[in-house]
């Protein structure tokens, strides 16, 4: 019997400060035992528990893509006890990760479809995983049009800036990068909130077009009516939720929304599913 609470030991291989306010850092982990990497086979949209002995565990979306080998990557916002400690850790230090956990985005359904990715702020991590996965040469032909709408408060608050630039230069996807505002005269992308940009640039709704949305509650609140106006079916709007978690495997009973546990039955739900659930998230 395998103990599902025992993390795989990992070494922090690289730490990248992502945003100008230093509140977001990306951690690249390498498994200490190479065989653990195979056991940690994951798909875009899943999460893991980052485990810092002495501090505790935190559920964080996996930001690397299954097509990237040799490491797993997470981008962490400094906010509580464990994340603050993690932000003070250094490359080379040892900790643990436990997973992969939860359901990925529904890739079987998404294959052969138009995909619109809508993200805001630091909720762009599993979306990065999805973009890297879909644009991998082995996978790009499996998807039709890919749109990405991603916004942050300012240019300095965008995650994965180099990658955003390289995606914007690709001719096989539509990047719509936006910031709430900037004084930068050289800023060559959009200015405006995510819902406004979505209204202007999201492709028209049809049965073959799916939107994946991750962002702060305020962004979701104002983006949903935009998608409704565009005619998106609630079955075609896919969201990823967060709730306080401990076990991550559906046992500790903490993260439920109605009868569903965000950790095990989610974190990915369609809007149609969420409409039938209490708003306890």
């Amino acid at each position: 019997m395998q103990n599902p609470y025992l993390p795989y030991p990992v070494r922090i291989d690289k730490i990248i400060t992502e945003t100008e306010d230093k509140s977001l850092k990306t951690f690249k982990f390498v498994f200490i035992r190479p065989e653990d990497e195979e056991k940690f086979a994951y798909r875009a949209g899943q999460f893991a528990e980052l485990s810092v002995p002495g501090m505790g565990e935190i559920p964080i979306g996996i930001a690397s893509s299954p097509t990237e080998k040799g490491f797993v990557q997470f981008t962490v916002f400094k906010t509580g006890k464990v994340t603050s400690h993690l932000h003070a850790m250094r490359e080379g230090e040892i900790m643990g990760i436990r997973g992969p956990l939860g359901h990925p985005y529904p890739w079987e359904t998404l294959e052969g479809k138009n995909i619109v990715i809508i993200g805001g702020g630091f909720a762009f991590t599993t979306l990065r995983s999805s973009i890297v996965f879909m644009t991998d040469p082995a996978n790009r032909s499996k998807f039709k049009d890919i749109h990405v709408i991603y916004g942050a408060r300012s240019p300095g608050m965008l995650l994965y800036k180099d990658e955003l630039k390289s995606w914007a230069e690709r001719d096989d996807m539509h990047m719509h990068i936006t910031v709430d505002g900037t004084d930068d005269p050289d800023w060559k992308y959009h200015k405006g909130f995510v819902p406004t940009i979505t209204e202007k640039f999201a492709p028209p709704a049809d049965a073959d077009t799916y939107a994946i949305i991750c962002g702060p509650p305020i962004m979701i609140k104002f983006t949903q009516p935009v998608l409704d106006n565009l005619g998106y079916s609630h079955d075609n709007i896919i969201m990823s939720l967060e709730n306080r978690m401990k076990c991550g495997i559906g046992i500790c009973g903490r993260c439920n929304i109605g009868k569903d546990l965000v950790c095990k039955d989610g974190p990915v739900f369609t809007l149609a599913q969420l409409n039938a659930m209490p708003k306890e998230y």
Binding site: M1, Q2, N3, P4, Y5, L6, P7, P9, I32, S51, P53, G54, M55, G56, E57, I58, T79, G80, K81, T83, E93, I94, M95, G96, E242, N243, R244, K246, C247, I249, G250, I251, C252, G253, R254, C255, N256, I257, G258, K259, K264, A276, M277, P278, K279, E280, Y281
Partner: protein
């Protein structure tokens, strides 16, 4: 049905034999209450109890469970790598568990032992345990087991059922584990003719004494949001002080927290019973809380037990009718009346009432 007869005078002899093989737990008097305890060499289970204050869930699922240890000393090779702790997997026997509390174990097993994940701590302890039940000849006034999946003489979840009859106990082995226990204790004398009839009569008398019931036959046909949005939650939750007593004494409440505790350069990761009555239970690191109001937490507890569980497992409610929460709630919140309210709730009728008033 093979029935064994145990003379109460020889009970000690048998239990002493059991103690050589099993860690033996039983009800003992603690001040004004009874609790299940590991029995010392000289201790005997005290069958003069009605039921224990706390449920015996801690025998399989301790209130604090050591999960892992770790070192934070950089000189150690395994610094910052969690290590499993050897578990006590020796056989244990619970003597005198009531049928309601016994049913709670297969019930919570649906949570801890799933096709995807096995909670090793719970599963190993459960598998190591032999459950020896004691039928309730005289149930309490707050018991409602007969409508919650078992009865005073219920057998589900038990390996042996004991029935008290004056100076004797009748024992029925219900599983191979139970047979092995009776064998080990040397309880092998077959009860004579008439024992079965006696037990049937005692059971019928006990069943008749159960005066309160719950009904939940309509609950699974209701939409979650219909019950969630029912107007009675404000009223039901108004008096709650969120003390969490109901969750701690409940044999079927399984929620837990995981915490690390460091002493100098080493520490432990442990899990502790937790309670959905606490606002901290759902508080996000950001400060956002999906259940800020106490009425939302009261609703969560009852919706979990009486609706979410029903929908998820299609196997009754997450309650065995022991009545502890009814007896111990300081503000008299009563799961029986809430269950019946949920079962009788009809949002359409409710709308008409509001419209006409």
């Amino acid at each position: 049905m093979k029935l064994i007869k145990i003379d109460k005078k020889s009970l000690k002899e048998g239990i002493d034999k059991l103690k050589r093989t099993y860690g033996v737990f039983g009800p003992v008097r603690e001040k004004d209450e009874f609790e299940f305890k590991a029995l010392g060499a000289a201790e005997m289970p005290d069958f003069s109890f009605s039921n224990t204050r706390m449920s015996p869930k801690a025998i399989v699922y301790p209130q604090t469970q050591l999960m892992f240890t770790y070192s934070l000393n950089d000189a150690d090779d395994d610094c910052r790598i969690l290590k499993e702790v050897p578990m006590d997997e020796r056989p244990r026997a619970v003597i005198g568990i009531r049928p309601c509390d016994a049913l709670a174990f297969p019930l919570v097993r649906r949570n801890f032992d799933t096709p995807e994940y096995q909670d090793t701590f719970w599963v190993k302890a459960y598998e190591a345990t032999t459950f020896v039940g004691l039928a309730c000849n005289v149930p309490c006034g707050t018991c409602f087991c007969t409508s919650a999946g078992t009865s005073p003489f219920g057998k589900e979840g038990l390996d042996v059922l004991l029935v008290e009859d004056g100076d004797d106990l009748f024992a029925e082995a219900l599983t191979p584990k139970g047979e092995a226990l009776l064998e080990t204790a040397g309880w092998t004398a077959e009860a004579g003719g008439g024992a079965e009839e006696k037990i049937t009569a005692l059971a019928a008398t006990a069943n008749e004494q159960i005066s309160s019931t719950v009904a939940f036959d309509n609950i699974k046909n209701r939409e979650i949001l219909e019950l969630y949005n029912a107007p009675f939650w404000e009223e039901e939750g108004f008096s709650c002080i969120n003390c969490g007593t109901c969750t701690y004494v409940c044999p079927t409440c399984w929620c837990f927290d995981i915490q690390d505790e460091t002493y100098g350069k080493s520490g432990v990761r442990m899990r502790n019973w937790d309670t959905c009555m606490s606002p901290l239970f759902t508080l996000h690191a950001s400060g956002h809380n999906p259940r800020t109001k106490k009425v939302e937490r009261v609703r969560q507890r009852f919706m979990h037990k009486l609706k979410y569980y029903v929908d998820k497992y299609d196997n009754g409610i997450q309650c065995v009718g022991c009545g502890r929460c009814v007896r111990l709630c300081p503000v008299n919140i009563d799961i029986r009346s809430i269950c019946n309210k949920m079962n009788n709730f009809d949002s359409e009728a409710c709308k008409c009432e509001t419209a006409s008033s």
